[in-house]
Every structure is written in structure tokens, then in C-alpha cells.
Amino acid sequence: MLREAIIEIKESSGLHARPAAELAVLAKKFKSSITLQFESKEANAKSVINLLTLGLKKGSVINLKVEGDDCEDAIREVIQFFKYIHP
């Protein structure tokens, strides 16, 4: 099963190291593969270093792709995560 979503980064300091680490922790809870696409780059959400290569800033719009059995739960929680990244 595959679910996709488009997300805009609202947090003013962007996806820096701490939120990236938190996202990776969250992503690892799921069996599904979770991928973030930004411009020409793609990152595995379970790898902090991968997430950081995207250099996501406030206003960056990403394409979220979740593929696997638990994709419903995963996409919900990841969307939730981006809504409530704390600064």
C-alpha cells in the first residue's frame, strides 16, 4: 500500500538536527518505508543524515511517500509531526 502527501515546512528554523533526529525516531517505529522528496533530492526519513541533506527550510514544500502495511498510521503521525515541530 502506498500513501502520499504534500507538506509545507512551517517551522521557522527549518528541519534542523534535533527535529530531524526526532523524525527519524518516529519513522523507525513503522515498518513502512518513509521517503521525503524535495526538489531533486530524496531522503529516507529513518536516517538523520539523509534527512539533513535535504536542507529543509521554512516554506520548503516536500512530497511525502509512505509505502508498507502500516502506511495509514505512519502517514498520519508524520503529518502530525510536521504540524507540531516545536522550535
Partner: protein, 589 residues
Amino acid sequence: MKNSLRTHVQSFGSKLSSMIMPNIGAFIAWGLITAIFIPAGWWPNTELAKLVAPMLRYLLPLLIAYTAGSNVAGVRGGIMGTIATIGVIEGSSVPMFLGAMVMGPLAGYVIKWFDRATKNKVKSGFEMLVNNFSIGILGMACAITGFLVVGPVMLGLTGILNSGVEFVLNEGVLPLVAVFIEPGKILFLNNAINHGILTPLGIEQARETGYSVLFLLEANPGPGLGILLAYMLRGDAEARKTAPASSVILLFGGIHEIYFPYVLMRPALIIAAILGSASAMAYYQIIGGGLVSAASPGSIISIMAMSPRGMTLQIVLGIVIAAAVSFLVAYPLVGGKSRKSLQEAEKEKKMLKDYGKSPCKIVFACEAGMGSSAMGATGFMNRIKQEGITVINTSIDTIPADTDIVVCQSVFVDRVSDKIPNAEIVVIHQFLSDPALDELANRLSPVKQVLTPGMIVLGAAGDTRKEAIKRAGKLLVDAGYVNNKYVDKMLEREQIISTYIGMGIAVPHGTSGSHEYVISSGISIIQYPEGVDFDGEKAYLVIGIAGKDGKHLDILSSLSSILSDEEILEKVKNTDDKMIIYNVLSNIN
């Protein structure tokens, strides 16, 4: 006062006072001759009193003109300034201090402009001819201009200034001047006020009336003395201990700067200084007192020496009045605990003093000071282009005493350190591109290169996670990228969630609230072949990161992009050559 305005005023003021101050000795010689030999003097002598007029008309203005011109363009500027000023002097009927202060630097700029325009264009063998005739011809032109144009204009201007001074003196508003002078002193405009403005005006007045009260306005040590006395009786323990010695230095040595920190410690004390100074001015105005010439430094000794005959005690009484009034006002203000300690105030004083001064003077030196060093200086100046840093070139023998950094080739190092032992010496092999120059430029630059080879440490071992973070932080601190506090913030950040980002890399950095401790974006890289334990993960590369102005994210992103390439990462983890790491990561910015 706004900082930039203060910088301008201070640097303009220091230009004015630097024309006068080296010549104060001549003012004193003239003052002594006047005080002793004129008919009203201590020991009247009509023969020796003949010295008074020509010294005032020629010697003092020409000395000022020479100094002013040489401040602009060295000895040649000084000579030009002097030639030009003789024109102004003869073109007007009164002594031309103002004229010297205008014409001296102006003529200096003329020859500086000429020398610059003809640089490297004179055929060899003709330098001396060109040098001598350029001053001869341009000097003649300046003297004529001075005689015909500037002299009469300055005469008018001097007249206007003098009538302004007379107005202030006659209308009884002199004490109000204290409102400007006292705060100005604390802002280190004391020399600018005294020697840039009051001394030239005062000499003008002294010529007419024999003495001038203007010499007493800034030089009176009374107001500062009153404040120090108040501290002696009621200040906290530290101030009580230091104030006696300070007051001796102030009263007899005439170094007014010594009481400034005591005022900065409790800024309300400026009122005491103003009222003390205003009272003395009112008193001097009532008795019609003054000094024959500049009293510099402003000590009781020089003030007594410059007092007209028969007025010494009255003049000294003015110091006593100023001290008494300032003491009475200061007394209730100095009790209790002060907001700032004396040391803090001292620091603030130093900051005020250094305001407007170039924080850094760099001299490129070579044997002649003209060829290679000139090329090096120009190249370096274009490269750093930064306010506050002066870059000049000189010969080894003429390196100025206030130089901070000397750049020279290794053969000259001994001569340079003999000549100027306190300066830092940067040794280079060639003047245009040299690694030592690169490091210097980066160190001086407010926007540094994010990574330099010096920020890479290879083959580290045995550190804990905390030690590794501190070490990465210390590298950033030592190279001037961040201040000490940032290291604490790095450790704090590590507590929230590990900065291990995978693939054997940890990127310790400060918390979100720590940008204020970052001076310039930079990274430090420590390679641990055995790894450091980061919460159960092994970090083989510990990379300290400090991002300025939102650069943090860019650095993180380009760093992780580059190191995501496993082949590159393996090289960086295992190499024993710093330059390999540097070359891989030097594009990060």
C-alpha cells in the same frame, strides 16, 4: 550620543588635537617667556620680551602647520604645510592658528596627491629633481593661494569665532560651557576639546589681553578632584583604597583620564563635575582670570606656571572652588553599593578611549618600503576591505611604533623585532599569495572561511562523548568562531537528543537559543579512528558546528550531502592527511 557619530567626532577631534599636542612644549616656552619678561611679568625685560611677538606670529603657527602637514604626508607634507602657512600668516594681520590648522593638512594633501599621481612614472635618475621641484612649485602655489585667498578668509573666520568667544565671555554664559565640556571629557574628547578648539582660540585671546580663561576650562583638575575626595570618604572599600593615589596623579600629574572610571561607575556624578566646573568658570569670569598659555597637562603645577603674575593664588582658588562644589554634589551620590565595579568601569573607559581608533594596524615591510611591500599591502587591503583595519607599507626602519602586525620576509624578522618588539610578526615567503597571509586574512575577517586546515584534528582517541564535544567546541572558541558560552550550549543540546546523525558521524552544536554566541560560521572536525560512544552508537567523526545567521541549516545539509557518499566518508574517516579532509569539505559555506 550615537556610536557612529561619536566615532566621527572622536576621530575628527583627534586629528585636530594631534596637530597641536606635539607642540604644547613650544606653547609652554612661549607662555613662560611671556609670563616672565613682558612689562606686567615677573621680571620685565624689554630685550627678551621681543621674543614674544615673533614666536606667536611665526613659530607656533608654523609648528602646527608642519605637524599637521606631516600627519597627512610625512616630512614632505610637513614642509608643504609650512610653506603654505607662511602665505596665510603674511596674508592676514593676526596670528593664524586656524589658518595653520586648515592650510597645513590641505597642503599635505596636495603633495600626497601629487606623489600618488606620479608614483612609478618618474624616470630613474630624475627622482630628486622631481621631488624637490614638486614641493618648490606646489609649495609656491599654496603660499600664494594662502596669501591671497585663505589668509583673508581665515581672518574673517577668526573674527567671527572671536566675537563668538567674546559673546560667551561677556554675556556671563561661560558656566554653561561646562555642560558640554565635562561630558565630552568623559567620552575622551578631552584633548580634542582642549587642544583642538580651546587652545587656538585661547592663544588668539591671550594675544589681545595677555591671558585667556579658555585655557582653564578643560584643564582645571578641580571637578575630578572633588569626585575622588567624595569616594575617599564614602565610596565602597575598593574605591576608597584607590581614590587617594588617583587624586595625587590627577592634581599634580594632570592626567584627567584617571578619574573618568569613577564617573563611569556612577554616571550621575557627571552632574558633580559639571557643577564644579561651572562654578569655577563663573568665579574666573567674575575675577577676570586666565592663563597666559595652554596648561598641559592639566595639573596644578602647569596651571600655576602659566598664571599671570600676581594672579597665581586667585587662579588656584578656582581649582579649590571647583573641587569643593563637585565634592558637595558628589558626596551624597557615592554612598552604597555601586552598580558597576571599578574594574568594569575601567574596561568601559578603555572602550571609550579606543573608540574610533583603528583596532588594527598592519604594516607590510621590506628593505626600501616601496616595491614589494607596497604591492603586498595593496593586495592585502583589497582582499580584506574592512573598516577599522589599516594596511600600509614602509621600510623596515620606518615601521610606526603603534603597529599591531608586521608582515615581512624571514630575513627581516630580527630587524623588525628589534625595531618594534611588541608587534606580532607574520613571516611570509612571497607578498601576494602566501598561506600565512591567508590565515591572517581569515583571522581578521568578520566573515571567516567556514573550514580551515587548522580546524581538523586527526587520530584522536580515548575521549568520552562529553570530552569529544568539549574538544570540538574548544577548537571553535580558539579560532574565534564562537565564544566560550557556546561550548556549554553544545553540551546542553546533547542532553536533549543525541547529535549522532548516522554513518559514524556526530555533529555537536549549540541549542536553538545559542546563535548569539556565534561570531562567524565555522566547523571543527575531529577524527576518532576507534570511535567515541554516542549513546550506544559509535561516532568516528565528531564535527562541531556553529552557524551564523541561519547558516546552520545550510552547513548541516551540505556536510551531510558530501559525507553521504560512502567512498568519500571512508576516506575522511581513515586518512592521515588533513588536506584530504580539507579539500573534500572546503566548499561548505
